[in-house]
Symmetry: C2
Subunit: 258 residues, 2 copies
């Protein structure tokens, strides 16, 4: 299994605090030592930092923990390999371009009997994980359904993707994060929770390492920031736990569907 | 105008020495302050570090200069914006997946009257540069010509891309680097040169900053490493200068076509 982390915010926000907790699970407080990655959207562009080394000892993870990149959407993943070897091409998140937008995806779980299902032609996996094959299959199906141009109502696309995710969940465990840089979708199979922070902000303490943050000092009264994670990252806060088959869609930190 | 840097090698090799010279041109010895990026292939996977800040003062560039990532193919670019604003989505290199491979591209130059030419459906620009539009047009044309599966002979693909590059060069200046992670293509409009280093290795001194390297200490006798750049990066070495319309294809450091 792996751990997911994602963020949707209405102002560019840094995720150093949450990533610091997550990174500990990559070799210190958790067994997820088979690589990690994090994608930051900045406007329509994005950049992904990844490493096939454990996040707790990665030079690149050290940079991320010390250099606050401000972003409105973040997708991150630390990996404990089950399907597919430990290599850069098998390291999440995965990104593909569709309709002039970068789509970024990460998966936690394990699927069975998927080889005959995940047949795709336009989008193809570079590595050999069930996760990336599922992503390419989703993207192919989206094009099959909506064609070469984005529909005016993007919510239709996410509702359709949720039905695909239901199909995939029938093959095993499928906790998923997906974003087009504007919307952030989370789909739960068995382990996913979220918290939306807005004024009045308080303090929070990481579970995995001895760090406390006072959000009141880091934010303005209008900020809305949603953080999604496999398991709660903080003490002293109430995280919302998703049920099997439940999914949520966020935009600028606010819940749109779910 | 911008500056390009690329590498093809037969063993995973770090590019810290060459990148250190290039990064100086991003604000110190050169005027290319509108962002920079570098893509490292490691096996079939790749990772791109980019920043819309000048390379000479970027935190991420500092990491690249101090953390030797070993790679067989590298594509890098520092930008002086002409078409398209300064933003992450306009920062090279650009990557798209085709045939289960990541294709990475960077362009130096400026094009005119391209809006009617670069019509693409499957691959679409996320930013608004002439460069990214040209890349998406090339990728669309490749699919139109070869279909949904890679041909057995990949050299056919690169010969075809060279004819597309000739068409683009008719619209302005088009120096291009393109790689599928295995092959590295360089196409020259007016400024591109390369050097292939192999045994016996000597010393070289960077032009842009006071750094000397003794390649003999950094390599083994079987290493073959080709470096491509807009302008020579070192003194004391003979760089091969490409002519207008000339292109070269490298694989594992060796010249395949050109």
């Amino acid at each position: 299994m792996c751990e997911l982390l994602a963020m949707s915010a209405n102002v560019p926000t840094d995720i150093v605090f949450s990533f610091t907790g997550l990174a500990e699970r990559g070799g210190v407080t958790g067994p997820h030592i088979d690589g990690w990655g994090i994608t930051f959207y900045e406007g329509k562009g994005n950049r992904t930092f990844k490493d096939a080394r454990p996040s707790s000892e990665s030079h690149v993870a050290k940079l991320i923990k010390s250099y606050p990149i401000k972003s409105e959407v973040v997708v991150s993943h630390i990996r404990q390999a089950n399907r597919g070897g430990v290599s850069l091409e098998n390291t999440h998140p995965f990104t593909r371009e569709l309709w002039g937008q970068y789509w970024t995806y990460a998966h936690n779980g394990q699927l069975s009997d998927y080889q005959d299902k995940f047949i795709s032609t336009r989008f193809n996996a570079v590595g050999d994980t069930d996760s990336e094959m599922a992503f390419c299959w989703i993207m192919d199906k989206v094009v099959e359904q909506f064609g070469d141009n984005a529909p005016a109502d993007m919510l239709l696309v996410y509702r359709f993707i949720a039905t695909l995710a239901d199909e995939i969940r029938a093959l095993g465990v499928f906790n998923m994060i997906l974003s087009d840089g504007e919307h952030l979708m989370s789909y739960c199979s068995n382990n996913l929770c979220y918290i939306t922070r807005c004024a009045p902000f308080g303090k929070a303490k990481l579970i995995d390492t001895d760090v406390v943050i006072d959000f009141d000092k880091e934010t303005t009264p209008n900020d809305v920031v949603t953080v999604i994670a496999t398991r709660p990252l903080t003490k002293d806060e109430q995280w919302n736990v998703l049920a099997a088959g439940e999914w949520k869609l966020f935009k600028k930190g606010e819940l749109l569907i779910g």
